[in-house]
Symmetry: C2
Amino acid sequence: MLGGAAIAKESGAMEEALYGLIGKMKAQPGKRAELIALLTQGTSDMPGCIAYIVAEDAKDEDGIWISEVWRTRQHHADSLKLPAVQESIAKGRPLIAAFESFVETRPVGGVGIDG
Amino acid sequence: MLGGAAIAKESGAMEEALYGLIGKMKAQPGKRAELIALLTQGTSDMPGCIAYIVAEDAKDEDGIWISEVWRTRQHHADSLKLPAVQESIAKGRPLIAAFESFVETRPVGGVGIDG
């Protein structure tokens, strides 16, 4: 299996590559569990969401990592308009101390991205 | 849904938390697609692997991100002994320029971690 762009070209139909995000945020001290509960509560019905993995940083007690895979960039953008997601964001914002890192990716293979 | 450790306590059976890894590596210039093909070829039969998402960094043309979720830390350790994985690692090593970042996580919720 080749890189994202190559897959798109190879499949002829100029199929749009999957869209991914990997980011780390810091919860306010002592608020990680509460923030994680909010981050995971609105995620069961997000069209085009293949993976949205919320994880505690094993060493940083305030650190939360989110790895996402979406069918397309647009599916991700549309998810931000969903009422359940907007509610989670609004409730979660006061519990977030900082966004430490954030990258956009093109998921291209492996396990758990068939969706 | 609460944090990893809380889930373990709450479920009473001291169920071990899931084990996760998020890392970025840099391919040798021009070798990313070849390295990705190696990284994804040996992944179809890794017991306890819930997610192993290989993605191109959208901005860094040599950057590869891997987000992993394993049933347990031991399942991940055991996977490194699988012939197919050892073969991928051996073939891939010359194509790797650097390991840029690497964190261990406890995946606790979201989409795509039911496995």
